[in-house]
């Protein structure tokens, strides 16, 4: 064997190597794998045949490790002795002569020099490797096997490995029977990762961005452009901009494995935190921070890479500022804090190690805080064909007879879940059976059923089984006809009966529309009604034993509505939408309710208006009509007396009910006045207002709104001063005769007045309340139970004190406002002007 042939194949791979980082990434990209793909590259090249044998068995996981230490160790040993003898410290020259002659003369600090195809010299730096010296004699085992025998062995192993790429030539020898296959065949290195290469490379690229920060190496010129977007030149530690990586994808595809492999490949020590660990904010402080700050775990020289597995299950994500996720994110922000006050935060060191988070559901609520700060990568399901291929290899290794169709069925049922597939296969193997399709079918009953969506279940209910689905489920004609078990199990597996019922309700009307007879719908409604009664009985009485019966009530829709070529069931959110609207409207009613409570001659006088259903049935429709009279849009100064009276009355009512007109800009840019609370929804059906209510125009509403504001100002003045004359003045201008009013006012005294003013929102009401307190101070009030009434002190005493002061300071002042009816009119003699 010549070394010429050795150079390209064994060592350098298909492409020339420029420098170590490039070399590593090159390894990722290349198809042919490199034997000892590692950031600490080559310790030595011991022997041509040996190094050549490595690439062939590189797909191999566990066995590959076995032969490699041998030559390495032996060469190291050889090196020790020979260097002792010769004292040679020069670079190792990789040419045929030196390779064969002085193959062991390597200094740990010396870099390797190699020649590429172009004749360029390449230096490969090396890391010191601590080796446990072998006790056996150094030279002995190197030469006891003749080269031709080694070559023979090599060719044999090469052929066997082409037959079964993941070659475990003799499965019987392995003592690993008690191991889970999932662990046994877990990929150990980057090249063994299955499927989705783009994702793997993306993750690797992200990890590589940390190299500068963690290993202190400058990034490669060639890759610089690509990294620019995530490279943060501001960062003094040369960290990438997004300091977290979030990988999401369905279970069983190998996300965890991927991260572990990449961590190892990139030269990190992976530290994993998963759902089995306590994950609280405290644990971030106690465990995560020390690990990240120390940079490496005890007894290891490698830097640490934190893997947070199953992060979507972490508690306290959402709004809780002390949650685990929140804390984790805050780790990445420590630096700016530190800059602000160096002294206080001295113990907080910046995050200098990569963190990879793994989750199943990217949109999980707990991840809301994390998502903006993380680089997100979606892990999708690899093509079935790759998984099948891998499964077939494993089956071959395990001596399990498996036909491809059976395996592809398995993969299909498992929806790409490799872990699930392997577990199933191992289970079959443990019973010493051959893998057939039927067996797979039996073994995978119940597997992954939770992934079905409500729409899929509904489609199953409403449509007869398609040919494809029949084949997929491998059921006979007999079984096809028997739908009850199949469907009830499907409904049960979804475990969301109300949802299915809603779907049935939304869709049953679409089936069999051509029939003149409606009895079919009648029956369907009967079932739905029964479902509703049973399920509400279940929730009301907490009798969840009834739950078992619910699926059967929905299954009955299958014989009723099954129709070939019927309309497909689509997601129907009408019910939900209406519920949301209803909630909004209930809130509007509630605020109207509060307004009414506070209005009236005295507190609670209007409560008979809001009892039961009176509010929405009688009050809401009429109040809308009351507050929208026919008014001409003119200046408030020049309107007719009759209209002025109308306006005054209108203002009075709206103010007392706490209705306001709020100015807003509509979507088209026009200013509009909106009623607040928007009680006009109760006269708006199908998006149209009732025809008998005049559409109040902007000008009119503007007029009313100004008047309301003016009236509020007046009330405020009254409330502050509690002076009666001013109040009388406003009262005198009211629509009705003033007598009745004043009689009322006299009768009730000042106390009631302040109470009715309490309807004003905001700080004003607080003020009046405190006043009320002062007013009745001489006679301590008792409540119904005879206890002294303590007024809930919304404002602290200091505030009320301030208000007392305000009362003292303020004199009676009148503010004249141009064109505003709130101004006080006063008879003035001409003489006063002269």
């Amino acid at each position: 064997m010549t070394v010429d042939s050795f150079l390209p194949t064994g060592l350098l791979g298909p492409k020339p190597i420029v420098s170590p980082p490039a070399f590593v990434s090159n390894g990722l990209l290349g198809d042919s794998s490199i034997p000892t793909l590692d950031t600490e590259p080559f310790t030595c090249i011991s022997d041509a045949p040996h190094s050549q044998s490595v690439p062939h068995s590189s797909d191999n996981t566990s066995e590959d490790d076995a032969p490699s230490p041998g030559p390495l160790a032996s060469s190291q040993d050889a090196f020790l002795s020979v260097s002792d003898i010769l004292g040679l410290k020069s670079n190792f020259k990789e040419n045929p002569e030196s390779c064969t002659a002085s193959r062991v003369l390597i200094h740990p600090r010396a870099s390797l020099r190699a020649t590429t195809f172009n004749g360029k010299l390449v230096f490969i730096p090396r890391k010191p490797r601590v080796m446990i010296p072998q006790k056996s004699s150094p030279m002995a085992n190197l030469l006891d096997v003749p080269i031709h025998r080694l070559m023979d062995e090599l060719s044999v192993s090469a052929t066997s490995s082409t037959i079964t790429p993941t070659s475990k030539p003799d499965a019987s020898h392995r003592p690993l029977d008690d191991m889970l296959w999932v662990d046994q065949y877990r990929p150990q290195r980057f090249t063994e990762l299955l499927g989705n290469e783009r994702v793997a490379r993306e993750v690797m690229a992200w990890v590589k961005q940390w190299d500068w920060c963690v290993f202190g190496k400058r990034r490669n010129k060639k890759r610089h452009r690509e990294d620019d977007q995530n490279y943060d030149p501001e960062d003094e530690y040369h960290r990438p901009r997004e300091k977290l990586l979030l990988i999401s994808g369905p279970p069983g595809l190998g996300k965890t494995t991927l991260t572990h492999v990449i961590a190892a490949q990139a030269g990190y020590e992976a530290v994993e935190i998963n759902a089995s660990d306590t994950r609280s904010a405290q644990s971030v402080e106690d465990r995560v921070r020390p690990i990240l700050e120390s940079g490496s775990t005890i007894g290891s020289t490698k830097p640490v890479l934190l893997i947070v597995d199953e992060i979507d299950g972490a508690t306290g994500g959402g709004d809780n500022s002390n949650g685990f996720v929140q804390k984790l994110v805050s780790l990445t922000f420590d630096k700016p804090k530190k800059k602000r006050n160096v002294g206080a935060q001295k113990d907080k060191r910046p995050l200098l190690r990569p963190i990879i988070c793994i989750c199943n559901d990217l949109n999980a609520h707990s991840l809301a805080k994390l998502r903006p700060h993380a680089h997100q990568i979606r892990y999708t399901r690899p093509a079935d064909i790759h998984i099948v291929k891998r499964l077939r290899e494993i089956c071959a290794l395990e001596g399990l007879d498996a036909d491809t169709s059976a395996l592809s069925t398995l993969v299909n049922v498992a929806k790409g879940d490799l872990r699930g597939c392997l577990n199933t296969l191992q289970f079959i193997k443990s019973r010493n059976e051959d893998v057939t399709e039927e067996l797979i079918r039996r073994a995978t009953v119940g597997m992954k059923e939770t992934d079905v969506t409500a729409t899929a279940v509904l489609n199953e209910i409403f449509a007869p089984l398609s040919r494809k689905r029949i084949r997929e489920l491998a059921i006979s004609d007999m079984e096809e006809a028997r739908y009850v078990n199949r469907l009830s199990r499907a409904v049960e597996a979804l475990n969301n009966h109300p949802n299915i019922a809603n779907g049935c309700f939304a869709h049953y009307m679409n089936c069999h529309r051509h029939e003149a007879n409606m009895t079919r719908y009648e029956t369907a409604n009967e079932w739905l009604g029964t479902f509703d009664i049973i399920s509400s009985a279940m929730y009301a009485d907490g009798d969840f034993g009834l739950q078992a019966y619910l699926p059967y009530l929905l299954v009955s829709f299958h014989p009723l509505c099954r129709e070939r070529a019927g309309k497909r069931v689509e997601r129907d959110s009408t019910d939900w939408d209406n519920l949301l609207i209803k909630r909004t409207n209930e809130n509007i009613l509630k605020s109207l309710y509060d307004g009414i409570c506070a209005s009236g001659r005295n507190t609670g006088a209007n409560r008979h208006l809001i009892m039961g259903q009176v509010l929405q049935l009688e009050f809401a429709p009429y109040i809308n009509r009351i507050i929208s009279p026919h008014l001409r849009p003119v200046n408030s100064q020049i309107i007719k007396p009759a209209e002025r009276a109308l306006l005054a009355r209108l203002v009075e009512i709206t103010v007392s009910l706490e209705l306001r007109f709020v100015q807003e800009r509509a979507e088209d840019g026009q200013m509009v006045y909106r009623l607040d609370p928007p009680v006009d929804v109760f006269v708006t059906y199908d998006g149209r207002r009732a025809p008998d209510i005049a559409i109040s125009r902007y000008a009119v509403r503007h007029l009313i709104a100004t008047e309301i504001d003016a009236s509020l100002v007046t009330r405020q003045t009254v409330a502050v001063e509690n002076v009666r004359p001013v109040h009388k003045k406003t009262a005198a201008r009211e629509f009705d005769n003033a007598e009745d009013k004043t009689v009322d006012a006299e009768e009730q005294g000042p106390l009631e007045r302040t109470q009715s003013f309490a309807s004003d929102p905001g700080p004003l009401s607080k003020r009046t309340r405190t006043e009320k307190h002062v007013d009745i101070a001489d006679k301590p009030p008792v409540d119904f139970f005879g206890r002294p009434v303590t007024i809930p002190k919304a404002a602290p005493t200091s505030v009320s004190k301030a208000k007392h002061q305000m009362n003292r300071v303020f004199q009676t002042t009148y503010r004249y406002r141009e064109g505003n009816s709130a101004a006080v009119r006063k008879a003035v003699k001409v003489a006063s002007f002269i």
Partner: protein, 356 residues
């Protein structure tokens, strides 16, 4: 100051305009010193609440009008918090247990016992007892009513209970037997007209008799509604002359539209249209039983004599189911489908079951 409904609400028994005999009787009861538990019942808007507050004033004087609204929080056995509004004066307390839904029993047990076990503290009070007014008593659950019956007897010395209900049919017999039943009938058209005229006189404007007659007839015995309508009309057209256009509440108009849709055509498409309209009504917080009742009333008007009984029968049937169930829309639609079926069978006059 406030709406007419509030402003012209009588405050004393003497001010009441109709059911004079009832007023004298209540006055006698209040002054006799032997005041019983009372159950007021009658249709909505007849004046039950007004009479209750007048009676209270007669009993305790104007002090009952000094009201205070509190929010009390109770904890149900299942650790759920229930908030209800409590209106109280020194002498009485007013609650609406139906605010608590299924947990009204807790309120009856805790609140009423708490009141019952303390005596009247105010020595100057006219009466030795306090009064608890329970609104919407007919919506009390069985448990709550059972909790009430013993309390009513045991704490008679400290406590009188005034119940206010639309009908007595949902109250259990033991409660009814412990109360003095007072029916407040809806006012007749003439009685309502006098009230409307009284209001007009107070406000010093002329109310044409035909207008008041029309308003009174439209309100159909609901005084509150009549006053609201009256005020609405006054706002819309201040002189109240000419033909009045009395607006129906919008939900009612909408329900009538639904009824028309049902009668016009019976098809799956129509059912879907009706469903959308039902959703619209429900989302406007209109109670489903009211919807069913209004639509059914209208449908009965429009269908043939032979079908009327059936329509009502099924409406009652599905209303019961609706009360038992949670998803009101299912039962509303079930009724619609049922009616459509009946209607089809009737109009084609053939039994289509053989086509199945």
């Amino acid at each position: 100051m406030s709406l007419w409904v509030d402003r012209f609400r009588p405050k004393t028994l003497d001010e009441l305009h109709y059911h004079q005999s009832l007023s004298t009787r209540l006055k006698a009861l209040a002054s006799s010193g032997d005041f019983p538990h009372i159950l007021f019942y009658g249709p909505s808007g007849a004046g039950k609440k007004t009479r209750i507050s007048c009676t209270l004033r007669q009993l305790f004087g104007s002090g009952v009008e000094k009201l205070k609204i509190d929010q009390r929080v109770f904890v149900s056995p299942s650790r759920r918090k229930i908030e209800i509004n409590v209106v109280q004066s020194n002498y009485h307390i007013e609650i609406t247990p139906s605010e608590a839904g299924n947990f009204d029993r807790v309120i009856i047990q805790e609140l009423i016992k708490e009141i019952a076990q303390t005596q009247q503290v105010d020595v100057s009070a006219k009466q030795r007892f306090k009064v608890v007014v329970i609104n919407e008593a007919d919506t009390l659950s069985r448990d709550a009513q059972a909790a009430l019956r013993r309390t009513m007897e045991k704490y008679m010395s400290n406590l009188r209970i005034i119940l206010c209900a639309n009908s007595t049919s949902r109250l259990i017999a033991p409660i009814k037997s412990r109360c003095l039943l007072i029916r407040v009938a809806a006012p007749s058209t003439e009685e309502m007209q006098t009230v409307l005229e009284h209001v007009a006189k107070k406000l010093k404007f002329d109310l044409p008799p035909e207008a008041s007659c029309q308003i009174a007839e439209d309100a159909a015995g609901n005084m509150r509604k009549a006053l609201l309508v009256f005020e609405t009309l006054k706002m819309q057209s201040p002189d109240l002359s000419g033909p009045l256009n009395i607006a129906k509440p919008d939900w009612e108009t909408y329900c009538h539209k639904i009824a028309d849709l049902i009668v016009q055509e019976q098809s799956p498409e129509r059912v879907m249209q009706v469903r959308a309209k039902f959703y619209e009504l429900l989302s406007h917080c209109i109670p489903p039983t009211i919807i069913l009742k209004t639509v059914a009333d209208r449908v009965v008007e429009r269908v043939d004599e032979a079908l009327k009984a059936d329509v009502m029968h099924w409406a009652a049937f599905y209303e019961l189911r609706m009360r038992m169930g949670n998803k009101k829309i299912y039962h509303l639609e079930a009724w619609v489908v049922k009616i459509m079926c009946l209607y089809k069978h009737f109009t084609y006059n053939i039994d289509m079951s053989e086509f199945d």
